[in-house]
């Protein structure tokens, strides 16, 4: 299993290099997508590689010249990477309006780096019935045309359907992996799961699918079966638009907790729902965008409650508590948190808030909070 896990890790250990190498090998164009809700299938169908833009692990330097410290980490990190030339291998970038900050990043990039393609879509963040759906469909058509122009390839419905199938297989394999984790907690470490999901955002889905199939096969063949795990089970949620630091995941586990499921951005949010095709593939993408779960704090969703979703999730997997990873300075998460906290308390699910910043200055504060949390949920 170690070997296949290392192949996922090869991608995430140095995404810049692995993507650039892939591009050199295949001659495919690379399009950065921010954040994850861009229908990558459209890019894939044009035989280009969509990658979900990520937070680097390097300290931000140039990013500070363009963004204040009270912006979220991912925005400073993307700008920093771009200005340092680390994203030069990208042929284009596509953004959509999910918050004010996501509107700001493309502006700064346009002013400071040269890209042959940079676009910005207006996806409706409100559940506006036909009005929102029709508008979004128009946006996707514009997006499709832009990608066709960039790649010089027409995107047929047949090509889209083929891409959708590959993406759905990816989602289904990841869900299968998560089922394995639920049945055999601890079989994979939190950092392994993170690398597996994250690598899928950075590499061609066909290859990711193949790696996932290998991994699942190895797990099936290994004699690991349902184990009795005495450790406290926790669910992770949040960390919008970026990966949490693996050190925090290690800390949770080293303190004697096991991560049984998650609702993370680099986690189940990415693959929980399939793209169901009903006729027009672009319309089906609109349907997926409005589908729940995940319950996304960036969308003005009045029908659902993230607190209930997490409480139900916890009940289903018999989790002892929820850890809310708050992306520091992320308004959608900041404003939702008090309600999640209240609802979880009402449903009797313990919860703790952990702030995620770009630089991991000290783990000590986080450790203290997590230790206290573990005591609350009855861990020894």
């Amino acid at each position: 299993m170690e070997e296949v896990l290392n192949r996922f890790l090869e991608i995430t250990a140095d995404p810049y290099n692995s993507i650039a190498q892939y591009k050199e090998k295949t001659g495919q164009k690379v399009i950065g997508c921010f954040p994850m809700w861009i229908p990558e299938e459209i890019i894939h169908a044009a035989k280009a590689l969509p990658v979900v833009m990520w937070r680097s692990n390097e300290p931000v330097t140039l990013g500070h010249v363009h963004l204040p410290p009270y912006n979220c980490a991912i925005s400073r990190s993307i700008v920093d990477d771009a200005l340092k030339g680390k994203l030069d291998f990208m042929d284009g970038m596509i953004f959509f309006r999910e918050c004010l900050i996501s509107e700001e990043v493309p502006f700064i990039l346009e002013k400071n780096i040269k890209l042959s393609y940079i676009d910005f879509l207006y996806f409706p963040p409100l559940y506006l019935d036909d009005v929102g759906r029709d508008f979004m469909l128009g946006e996707l058509e514009i997006f499709k045309k832009g990608i066709e122009k960039l790649t010089g390839k027409d995107i047929s419905d047949a090509a889209l359907l083929e891409s959708i199938e590959i993406y759905n297989e990816n989602r289904s394999l990841l869900r299968e992996l998560y089922e394995v984790r639920k049945k055999t907690p601890g079989i994979l470490k939190g950092r392994d799961i993170l690398n597996i999901v994250w690598s899928g955002m950075l590499m061609p889905k066909e290859e990711h699918n193949s790696l996932l199939r290998d991994l699942l096969e190895e797990i099936r063949n290994s004699k690991v079966t349902q184990q009795v795990d005495e450790r406290r089970k926790v669910i992770l949620t949040g960390c919008l638009c970026q990966t949490p630091q693996v050190e925090i995941l290690d800390l949770i586990e080293n303190l004697g907790m096991t991560i049984i499921d998650d609702d993370l951005f680099t986690g189940s949010r990415y693959f929980i729902s399939d793209l169901e095709v009903n006729g027009n593939p672009l319309k089906s993408m609109v349907d997926r965008y409005f589908k729940r779960p995940p319950i996304c704090p960036t969308k003005a969703d009045f029908e659902t409650h993230l607190g209930d979703y997490l409480a139900d999730m916890a009940k289903k997997v018999e989790a002892d508590g929820v850890i809310y990873f708050l992306t520091k300075m992320c308004p959608p998460q900041l404003t939702y948190y008090p309600d999640v906290k209240r609802r979880l308390a009402k449903r009797g699910v313990p919860e703790i808030l952990i702030e995620i910043e770009h630089e991991l200055i000290s783990l000590e504060g986080t450790r203290t909070r997590l230790e206290a949390f573990k005591e609350t949920i009855g861990g020894v």
């Binding site: 010249v65 363009h66 963004l67 204040p68 009270y70 912006n71 309006r97 999910e98 918050c99 004010l100 900050i101 509107e103 700001e104 493309p106 502006f107 700064i108 002013k111 400071n112 910005f120 207006y122 409706p124 963040p125 409100l126 506006l128 019935d129 036909d130 009005v131 929102g132 029709d134 508008f135 128009g138 960036t298 003005a300 969703d301 009045f302 409650h305 708050l326 520091k328 300075m329 308004p331 959608p332 900041l334 404003t335 939702y336 948190y337 008090p338 309600d339 906290k341 209240r342 609802r343």
Partner: protein, 426 residues
């Protein structure tokens, strides 16, 4: 501390605004007892409930009203005690604090109490404008409706965004209002509001012309406290005479040569970009005044119908109103970093600006977007020095005098240096 030989000559006419504003909020507090329905609105959405006869709050208007009366800190404390996180938009926290106070009976001053609404409307041009509705809905189950006002990035974005907004208003907002009020939407009333607004803005624009004068007969702060007639007091008949009085007083000042900053007028003309610091107007003005500097213009206060000539509700008032905001006045474009350069340039040239202060709110990103790049673009284009002051519009815990004083000092030094260099080269 700076010693000031400069003195502020306040306008007499702006004193008339207080009772108008107080009356608006008093009417809102009394609405329930009169059987009237109440809405809370954010973004440009309050005129729709006005037209159907509801009393309506305006998110930013309430925050400025509350802060201007130095009542915001107490409500923010209630919000924090109720679990709101400090990095959250302070306007959001203020409303959460107020709703907690009303529901749980915390003591707050009578004159800033906000009754709970029958409907919340989010005119979402900032994404957070719906987050506070979402939170209130989750906590109190208050009915809501949202309409999205995206900022265009390119010229070709305008038509499709306009069409999208028109559909949202016609197909979502108006039916919801009709349902809540149990009567049809009053298009005539809506047009009437727009006609009055147009008149008020035309006179207000005459007042703006006085910002071009040297010395200035009024400062941006005088205008900031006079904003309500073109925002949430829009459509009220008294709004036109208000600006007429201001205009007449300004004309008289020019005639008698009375500058806003005595004895000899302003030494530095400043563009103040970003939010107006509502709770700290006199604190900031004191700092500027002590150096003879006057705030003159800024994107935010210029956001309210700078081109009233586009207002023409004759044929299709809703479509016209949407066009006014977008392709007409280009407001949501100027708000965004993409269009900011266009309006910055206009202001610098029209109002002979010496330096720019970007007031950067730590909890609101609206005006901050692209600020550092924008300032360096303007510095390159016009050679105008600029500084960033970090703070908040209403939360006093986020304002640091030491930081402000140091940065202001730097700004004036840079302007002086620039003047010396240009005198030298002449």
């Amino acid at each position: 501390m700076w010693k000031s030989e400069h003195k502020l000559n306040r306008l007499e006419s702006t004193r008339l605004i207080g009772p108008m504003v107080d009356n608006h909020w008093a009417q809102l507090r009394e609405a329930k007892s009169k059987g009237e329905k109440i809405a809370w609105a954010s973004g440009p959405s309050f005129m729709y409930p006005y037209a159907i006869g509801m009393k309506c709050h305006f998110m930013a208007g309430y925050a400025s009203y509350c802060a201007g009366r130095h009542a915001a800190d107490r409500i923010l404390e209630i919000a924090e005690a109720d679990g709101e996180l400090r990095d959250t938009c302070s306007y959001h926290r203020l409303h959460m604090g107020m709703s907690a106070a009303v529901r749980e009976g915390h003591e707050v001053r009578e004159d800033v109490i906000l009754p709970m609404p029958d409907l919340m409307i989010s005119g979402r041009f900032c994404t957070e404008q719906s987050h506070y509705n979402e939170s209130l809905y989750r906590r109190h189950g208050i009915r809501h409706v949202g309409i999205e006002h995206p900022s265009p990035r390119k010229e070709e974005d305008f038509p499709r965004i306009e069409a999208y907004l028109v559909r949202q208003i016609n197909e979502i907002l108006i039916p919801t209002l009709e349902d809540v009020c149990g009567k049809p939407f009053d298009y005539e009333k809506f047009s009437e509001i727009m006609w009055v607004l147009k008149k008020a803005c035309l006179v207000r624009n005459e007042c703006w012309e006085f910002f071009k004068k040297k010395p200035l007969p009024w400062t941006l702060w005088d205008y900031a406290v006079s904003l309500a007639p073109v925002i949430y007091l829009m459509g009220k008949p008294e709004t036109v005479p208000y600006y007429e009085k201001v205009r007449d007083e300004l004309a008289e000042r020019v005639e008698k040569n009375i500058p806003a900053i005595g004895p000899d007028g302003e030494k530095y003309r400043i563009m103040w970009d970003g939010w107006i610091p509502w709770a700290f107007l006199s604190r900031f003005l004191g700092k500027l005044l002590s150096r003879g500097a006057a705030p003159v213009c800024g994107r935010y206060p210029w956001e309210f119908f700078p081109n009233p000539e586009f207002i023409d509700p004759e044929i299709d008032p809703i479509r016209n109103f949407v066009q006014v905001w977008y392709s007409g006045m280009r407001l949501f474009y100027h708000d965004s970093p993409y269009g900011a350069e266009e309006i910055f340039s206009e202001m610098i040239e029209d109002y002979s600006i010496d330096g720019i202060i970007m007031f950067s709110s730590k909890t609101c990103r609206l005006w901050n977007r692209g600020q550092l790049d924008l300032l360096s673009i303007m510095e390159k284009k016009y050679g105008i020095p600029s500084i960033i002051i970090e703070g908040d519009m209403i939360d006093s815990t986020m304002i640091s005098d030491a930081q402000i004083d140091t940065r202001l000092e730097a700004l004036f030094e840079m302007i002086d240096g620039r003047r010396k260099r240009s005198n030298h080269s002449r």
